[in-house]
C-alpha cells in the first residue's frame, strides 16, 4: 500500500476550554486521490483542514502530513516546509485576498517560494486564465470584484504555488454553473497529474462524480470512511447524520423497477441504466 498523504491519529481539537470541535479522530487521506470531506453545518470540517495546514495545532493526538508529524508541541517555524507542500483555498475567499491588485495577489505565493518576478507573473497569469478570470481584471483591486470573481482569484493564488496537497473548502460556492463545471474538470486534471486533493462540499453530486473516497464528520467525530457507493447505499446512516443522497438516488427510488446494481449516483449513469432497461425489455444487465 502507498503511504497516505495525511494521517490523523487520536486527533482532538478544542477552541478554548471544553469547546471541543474534534474528538479522537483517526483516519488517513490516501495520496494521489480525491477525498471528499462532508458533514452538516458545524461538524468540524474546516477545523480539520486548518489542522492539516498547520494553521491550528492539535489539542491532543497528531496529524502527519507527508511524513511530518504535528502535535500540540510543534513550533510555528517547523511548519514552514509544510506550507510549501499544502495549498488551502479557504471557505471564504475574501480571507485569502490582501494585495493591491489581482495579479500581485496571485504572484505573491510563487514569489514567496523563491520564483523570480518574471516566472511568478507567468505562473499567476496562467492560473488566473485557467480559472476564467478576464485579463481586464488583473490590475484591479481584488476587493473591487464580484463574489465569484474573488473565489476565482483565491483559487488561482493557491494553484499558482503548485501544491502537492490541495485543500478546497467548498470551492464551488459562489461560482456560476459554468465556473463550477470548469473547476470540477480542472480538479480531475490535477488529480491525474498526481495531486492529492481534499474537497469539502455539501453537494452530493460532486461527491458521487469525483470522490475516490469519503470521510463523514458529525459533531467532531468521524462517522464514516469509505467509497461514495458504500455511503450512498446506506440510507439509515445518511439520515442519522443529516445527510441527503444525490438527486439520482432519490429520483430512482420513485421508479417501478428492481433497484439496479451498482446503484446509479449521477444523471448520466441513471440514464444509461434506464435506457438499457427500456430498450432491452428485462433484466438489470
Amino acid at each position: 500500500m502507498v503511504e497516505p498523504a495525511v494521517e490523523y491519529a487520536g486527533l482532538g481539537f478544542a477552541y478554548g476550554a471544553d469547546r471541543w470541535a474534534l474528538r479522537e479522530l483517526s483516519t488517513t487521506i490516501p495520496a494521489g486521490q480525491l477525498t471528499a470531506l462532508i458533514g452538516h453545518t458545524g461538524s468540524g470540517k474546516s477545523t480539520l483542514m486548518e489542522l492539516t495546514d498547520g494553521l491550528l495545532l492539535p489539542t491532543s493526538g497528531t496529524v502527519t502530513v507527508f511524513g511530518q508529524q504535528i502535535t500540540a508541541a510543534t513550533k510555528k517555524k517547523e511548519l514552514a516546509p509544510l506550507r510549501k507542500k499544502v495549498g488551502f483555498v479557504f471557505q471564504f475567499p475574501e480571507h485569502q485576498l490582501f494585495a493591491d491588485s489581482v495579479l500581485a495577489d496571485v504572484m505573491f505565493g510563487p514569489q514567496n517560494l523563491g520564483a523570480n518576478p518574471t516566472s511568478a507573473k507567468e505562473a499567476a497569469t496562467a492560473a488566473l486564465t485557467r480559472l476564467g478570470l478576464p485579463a481586464a481584471l488583473f490590475d484591479r483591486s481584488p476587493f473591487e470584484l464580484s463574489g465569484g470573481q474573488q473565489r476565482r482569484v483565491a483559487l488561482a493564488g493557491v494553484l499558482a504555488m503548485n501544491p502537492q496537497l490541495l485543500i478546497l473548502d467548498e470551492p464551488t460556492a459562489g461560482l456560476d454553473p459554468t465556473g463550477q463545471a470548469e473547476l470540477l474538470s480542472l480538479i480531475t486534471e490535477l488529480k491525474a497529474q498526481g495531486l492529492t486533493i481534499i474537497m469539502i462540499t455539501h453537494q452530493m453530486e460532486q461527491v458521487a462524480r469525483l470522490a475516490d473516497t469519503v470521510r463523514v464528520l458529525d459533531g467532531g467525530q468521524l462517522v464514516f470512511a469509505g467509497t461514495p457507493a458504500d455511503l450512498f447505499a446506506q440510507p439509515d446512516l445518511l439520515a442519522a447524520h443529516h445527510l441527503t443522497p444525490p438527486a439520482a438516488v432519490t429520483f430512482a427510488k420513485q421508479l417501478d423497477w428492481a433497484a439496479a446494481d451498482p446503484q446509479p449516483l449521477t444523471a448520466a449513469t441513471l440514464a444509461a441504466q434506464l435506457a438499457k432497461q427500456l430498450k432491452g425489455g428485462t433484466g438489470n444487465g
Partner: protein, 276 residues
C-alpha cells in the same frame, strides 16, 4: 412593487458603466430569483435597490419610496438583506446581540425582543449559539445567523444574495421551505440571487442578468426549459431536466412536454411497466 427605470451605474475608478438604461419591475408579494454569470451585476443591482450604493436619484422606487438619501431611513424599515458574505453582515458582539441590533433599528419595543430573537434563532437551529461571537461560528452557522437576523425583521422586501450557498442540504431545504411558506402567507416580496436550480424553480419569476442587462424575465419553467438561453448564459437545469436530456442522448424518446420531476417519474413508470 420595485421599479427600476433607466438606471445607469458606474463603479468609482471604472471607465465602463455596469448598467446602462436598465429597466425592470418586481411585482409585490412575489418571489423573484436573479440569475446570471459571475460579474453579471446581480449583487450590484441588489445593493442599488437597497440604497447601499449611491443610487442615482429618480431611478429606483421600492413600494412607492424613492431610493435616495432623503428616504433611506424609511426604506431600511422595509428591507431585510442577507449579504453574499455573512462576515460583512455582523455588527453585534454575540449572535443574540446581532439579531437584536436590527430590531433596535426598527424601534421594536425592548420587552418584545427576547421572544423574537429566540424564535428567529430556533427557526435556523442556532439557539445553542446565542452567546457565541460571530467569528467563532462555522461558515454555515454564519449564514444561518444572517438569515435569522433578516427574518426577525419581518421585512416587506427580503433580499437574499446567495444566502444559502454554504448551508448543508438539509439546512438549505429548511430555509427554502420557510421562504415558500412566508411567500404563501402573502405580504412578502423575496428577491433571491442564486446559482441553485432548486431555488430558481421555487420562484414565481426569474430575472436573467447578462453583462448588466436583463436578458429575460419569465417563469422558472420557461427560463429553465429554454435550451438556447440556458446555454447562452450558463444556467444549470434542475435534476429532472438534466436526466431528461441524458435519456434523450441515450436514444430514449422522452416527450418534449415533460418538464417536471413528477411528470418524468410518471412517464418512466408507464414505460417500465409496459416493457416489464
Amino acid at each position: 412593487m420595485i421599479s427600476v427605470e433607466k438606471l445607469t451605474f458606474t463603479y468609482p475608478h471604472q471607465e465602463a458603466a455596469l448598467f446602462e438604461d436598465l429597466s425592470l419591475t418586481i411585482p409585490d408579494h412575489q418571489w423573484v430569483a436573479i440569475v446570471g454569470r459571475n460579474g453579471s451585476g446581480k449583487s450590484t443591482l441588489a445593493r442599488l435597490i437597497a440604497g447601499l450604493l449611491p443610487t442615482p436619484a429618480g431611478t429606483i422606487t421600492v413600494n412607492g419610496l424613492p431610493v435616495d438619501e432623503d428616504h433611506l431611513a424609511a426604506l431600511h424599515q422595509q428591507l431585510g438583506f442577507v449579504f453574499q458574505n455573512p462576515d460583512n453582515q455582523f455588527v453585534g458582539a454575540t449572535v443574540a446581540d446581532d439579531v437584536a441590533f436590527g430590531l433596535e433599528n426598527r424601534r421594536v419595543a425592548p420587552q418584545k425582543m427576547p421572544t423574537i430573537i429566540e424564535r428567529a434563532l430556533a427557526q435556523v437551529r442556532m439557539t445553542p449559539f446565542k452567546a457565541a461571537r460571530p467569528e467563532e461560528l462555522s461558515g454555515g452557522q454564519k449564514q444561518r445567523v444572517a438569515l435569522a437576523g433578516a427574518l426577525a425583521l419581518k421585512p416587506a422586501v427580503l433580499i437574499l444574495d446567495e444566502a444559502t450557498s454554504m448551508l448543508d442540504p438539509q439546512g438549505r431545504g429548511e430555509v427554502l421551505s420557510q421562504l415558500a411558506s412566508l411567500r404563501q402567507q402573502g405580504e412578502l416580496t423575496i428577491i433571491s440571487i442564486t446559482h441553485d436550480p432548486a431555488e430558481v424553480a421555487l420562484a414565481d419569476q426569474v430575472i436573467v442578468l447578462d453583462q448588466g442587462q436583463v436578458r429575460r424575465q419569465d417563469s422558472p419553467e420557461r427560463v429553465l426549459t429554454d435550451v438556447a438561453l440556458v446555454e447562452a448564459v450558463g444556467l444549470v437545469q434542475p435534476f429532472a431536466l438534466r436526466l431528461k436530456a441524458a435519456l434523450q442522448a441515450q436514444g430514449v424518446a422522452v416527450p418534449a412536454t415533460i418538464t417536471t420531476e413528477g411528470e418524468l417519474v410518471q412517464w418512466l413508470n408507464q414505460q417500465l411497466n409496459t416493457r416489464g
